[in-house]
């Protein structure tokens, strides 16, 4: 109940505040979103596996976002920013897919 409230408040804040993101930060946003989603699905799977730990969840979420942003930043400096973004999206995307598949097995036994 309270976590769901947090989710709703977050979305509402984002919509109503509508903060302007500086241009230099914009390339990192999609990466941050993908990394966050990866952490979320990892967390849900851990819950279903019975080994969820909120500390691990926070750390994996933050480190995912930071590392992904770092890789993209480094790529930008080396002139291969878009390629590295693609790499990050592919790796995290695969992880999201297999985590979702595992969640599906847990929930539907299929």
């Amino acid at each position: 109940m309270i976590p769901a409230l947090g989710l709703i408040v977050g979305i509402a804040l984002g919509i109503f505040l509508d903060p302007s993101v500086p241009v230099w930060l914009q390339p990192y946003l999609p990466i941050a979103v993908i990394a966050a989603l990866d952490a979320v699905f990892g967390g849900i799977r851990a819950v279903l596996d019975g080994i969820f730990n909120d500390k691990v969840f926070v750390i994996s979420f933050l480190s995912n976002v930071v590392v992904a942003a770092l890789i993209v930043f480094l790529g930008d400096q080396l002139g291969v920013g878009s390629q590295l973004s693609t790499g990050v999206v592919v790796v995290l995307g695969i992880r999201i897919f297999s985590n979702v598949a595992s969640i599906r097995r847990h929930l539907f036994h299929a």
Binding site: M1, I2, P3, A4, L5, G6, L7, I8, V9, G10, I11, L13, G14, I15, D18, P19, S20, V21, Q26, L29, P30, A32, V33, A36, L37, V40, G42, R45, A46, D49, G50, I51, F52, N53, D54, K55, V56, F57, V58, I59, S60, F61, V65, V91, I94, R95, S98, N99, S102
Partner: protein, 309 residues
Amino acid sequence: MTLLTEMMERPLDPAYAAEAERRVARGLSPTPPPRPLRIAAILLVLALVITIAALALRQPRAVIAEQKADLISRIEERQQAGDAQRARAATLNQEIATARGQLLAAQDLQTLNSELAAAELGTGAIAVSGPGVVITLDDSAQAAGSGAAGDPRAAGDVDQGRVQARDLAIVANGLWQAGAEAVSINGHRLTSLSAIRFAGDALIVDFRPLTRPYVVSAIGEKGQLHTRFVGTDAGSYAQGLADNYGVRYSVDDHDQLTLPADPSMDVRVARVPGAGPSAAATSGAAPTTATNTPAATTTATTTKEAVSP
């Protein structure tokens, strides 16, 4: 491969399992007791990040559309301004011609006047009317329907049915060859200084982009012009375009056509031999000197001199 296998087989952060093991080893349950506030805080941050990202990254598209609309409106504005200037130039040219005619008539230089009129007729400096033909060229139905944003892979086929600058140039030259005395394309009079070019997909005549259909009007001997044009290489070329590529092509006889003047008639470099280096034009001296060039600039200056008192 190791990396891929690792990724596929153990997508879950190993930290979860490690932490659970450590807790079990210490004699606790594998998961800590639920702390909903902390999770709520995390979810809040998460939702915030995703919402901000979605809002921030969706906006540029609206901005791009706005910029595009702005550019289009600016192009249209400039085009309208250009049209207005052309119209003004045409009116001014008309005034100049009238004033010059009066002046020359007053000074008994009727021959010069008629010579000038004949020269203007030929060069396209004044509007002309008479019988002639109208040739209409249009993209094939297939090419016209596809639009610029069509499938690029289909463009190879579609482009074949599209009228190109070269086609218009060949038709225009064919009309001259067939004895046309004046030619205009979509209302732009062709003169010895006209250019028919293309930029991307757009056809450009005298630096003005054209829209389809392309209407080439020519004044010439009634009946003869049509027959002779069909007999020229250009006539068979145009017929070939229609037969092979589906370009819509028609030739119609008209009893009365009016072709506008080209308001941008100007000689930039050439001058009459013997006359001073454009001295007449810059100083505006000797308005009645018969040796003055028929160039629009010179006549304009002299006429202004004559009119202003």
